[in-house]
């Protein structure tokens, strides 16, 4: 369904994606896992065409999105849905209008039919009856669910989730995780999730890809990842502070840096 080949993306001297190769199978849930700054969201933005890579390709239904014209890209995007980390709801529209927005923009469906579709989608995410509320009146979990209803309103073939459970309480996390799995099964949607939440990822994933500073260090089923012998993978899964993944990212020695600063201060004083 989606194939990433030799994808490279850099920001200045930082390599966010280092010749990445992976695929996202149709109708499966693939979770991209990794710590902060590992390049998960960057990879997602390249896959969706929101950013252009420095080199490499992203094939969606055998069309290379990195070389596609805007018109072709938009045609493919009509088959995609995305739930953003902050939900990205339009704050000047209420829940109903937010969800109906893509339908009104891209179709000529009658208003009464749009009303029915929105009600169905809201029922799927458990928010039927709240159509009149504004985004500012919603909790974080509710906003994610409205964002999800909006993402699936056009019946996409692929849905992308950017950190769907970040900042949510355990129950909301469970609800969102169940929704992701249910929608994948009920609607046969190819699902790509970017997350750093190990527990919920293991529950919903058919396949897991683990990123570490722009490199894929492991990919496979949940069991394959659990049984990985890579120390970095094990440290990430267990959340251990000890291991090959450093807590600090500075290259300089802490004691040397402190002593250098002290020397400079002494020189100024003398």
């Amino acid at each position: 369904m989606i194939r990433v080949e030799n994808l490279v993306k850099t920001y200045g001297s930082t390599v966010a994606c280092n010749r990445l190769n992976c695929r996202f199978d149709a109708k499966k849930v693939t979770v991209i896992l990794g710590g902060s700054g590992s390049g998960k969201t960057t990879l997602l933005r390249q896959i969706t065409g929101l950013e252009k890579p420095d080199s490499g390709s992203v094939f969606f239904d055998d069309m290379d999105l990195t070389r596609a014209s805007k018109k072709d890209l938009y045609k493919k995007r009509k088959k995609m849905g995305m739930l953003f980390q902050g939900s990205a709801l339009f704050n000047y529209l209420n829940i109903f209008e937010n969800i109906a927005f893509p339908l009104r923009e891209h179709t000529r469906i009658a208003e009464n039919v749009i009303k029915n579709i929105v009600t169905m989608k809201l029922e799927m995410v458990g928010l039927r009856g709240n159509e009149h509320l504004m985004p500012s009146q919603l909790s974080g979990g509710m906003m994610k669910r409205v964002g999800l209803a909006r993402a699936i309103v056009m019946d996409p073939k692929v849905i992308f989730y950017d950190e769907p459970t970040s900042g949510l309480d355990p129950i909301s996390t469970g609800v969102i995780g169940k929704l992701i799995r249910d929608l994948n099964v009920k609607l046969d949607i190819t699902t790509v999730v970017v997350s750093h939440d190990i527990a919920s990822s293991f529950k919903i994933a058919d396949k897991i890809i683990i990123l570490y500073f722009g490199d894929i260090i492991a990919q496979g089923t949940v069991d394959q990842i659990k049984n990985s012998t890579d120390e970095r993978v094990q440290q990430f899964i267990t959340g251990s502070p000890e291991g090959p993944i450093p807590f600090t990212r500075t290259d300089t020695n802490y004691v040397e840096a402190l002593l250098a600063d002290t020397d400079k201060s002494m020189e100024k004083m003398s």
Partner: protein, 257 residues
């Protein structure tokens, strides 16, 4: 040392030129996309309501008091030469040629320009532009183009409204309060004001409408995705728009005279 100074001046100049170039490309695309289907008439009407209708009160108050002050000052100055009868033409020409377009544009900048920059900046912070992109909707066409068109349509209308209210403000003070002859006030005005004056004022207001919405949209669009970034974008939108209005006013006046 001198080389460092020259280098930093050079870098700053290049950065400024790049920003001007980007803003030009931004305007080009906003215009280009505005005239390509699908046409979003309701979006345009909504923006005209925001930029135009909602500015009516502030424009009314500003115009009324500007006209009243002009009536007062004009009367006392013209009395020294025994030329009170010219009050109507003095008030009308000042307002139609200069004060109407400029003050109206400055008021709209303060009210709508800052709000436009803040709205677009917040849309950036909250990922609403990528969300539009993911829904296969061009954010520039959907958000920016209607705002710029609304500015171009609204400002001349608001300026015409300002001119009428300003002249009536001058009438209230000059004729009703200070006793200038009503016939002289309007008669001299009609003979003094030519179509070129009105046309010039409208040309100015059209340019100001474009400037305000273009600069405000661009500042919001380029805002850093932080709360501080949005606040800076809002301030810059107002400051740059206001200064640009005064500079462009001088250029247009010199061209139109």
């Amino acid at each position: 040392m001198n080389l460092d100074i020259a280098a930093s001046i050079g870098q700053a100049t290049i950065a400024r030129v790049q920003v001007i170039g980007r803003s030009g490309v931004f305007l080009f695309f906003a215009f280009f996309l505005a005239f390509r289907p699908p046409y979003r008439i309701f979006r345009l009407i909504k923006e005209i309501e925001f930029v135009g209708s909602k500015s009516f009160l502030i424009v009314f108050v500003t115009a009324l008091f500007t006209g009243m002050v002009l009536g007062l000052q004009g009367y006392h100055t013209l009395t020294q030469f025994g030329a009170q009868a010219l009050l109507g033409s003095a008030v009308a020409l000042s307002i139609i040629r200069e004060l109407g377009p400029v003050l109206c544009a400055l008021m709209v900048t303060g009210r709508a320009g800052s709000a436009i920059a803040a709205e677009i900046g917040i849309m950036r912070i909250t990922d609403q532009f990528p969300a539009l992109e993911m829904m296969a909707i061009d954010p520039v066409k959907y958000v920016i183009s209607p705002k710029i068109l609304a500015g171009i349509i609204s400002l001349p209308l608001l300026t015409a409204f300002f001119d009428v209210v300003g002249i009536m403000g001058g009438y209230l003070v000059g004729v009703q309060l200070l006793g200038v002859n009503q016939g002289a006030y309007f008669g001299k005005m009609i003979t003094a004001v030519t179509f070129a004056d009105i046309y010039g004022g409208m040309i100015k207001s059209l340019c100001f409408g474009l400037l305000i919405t273009w600069i405000s949209c661009f500042m919001g669009f380029c805002a850093k995705p932080t709360t501080e970034g949005v606040s800076r974008a809002t301030t810059r939108a107002v400051v740059v728009s206001s200064v640009s209005i005064l500079v462009v006013d001088y250029i247009l006046t010199s061209l139109l005279l």
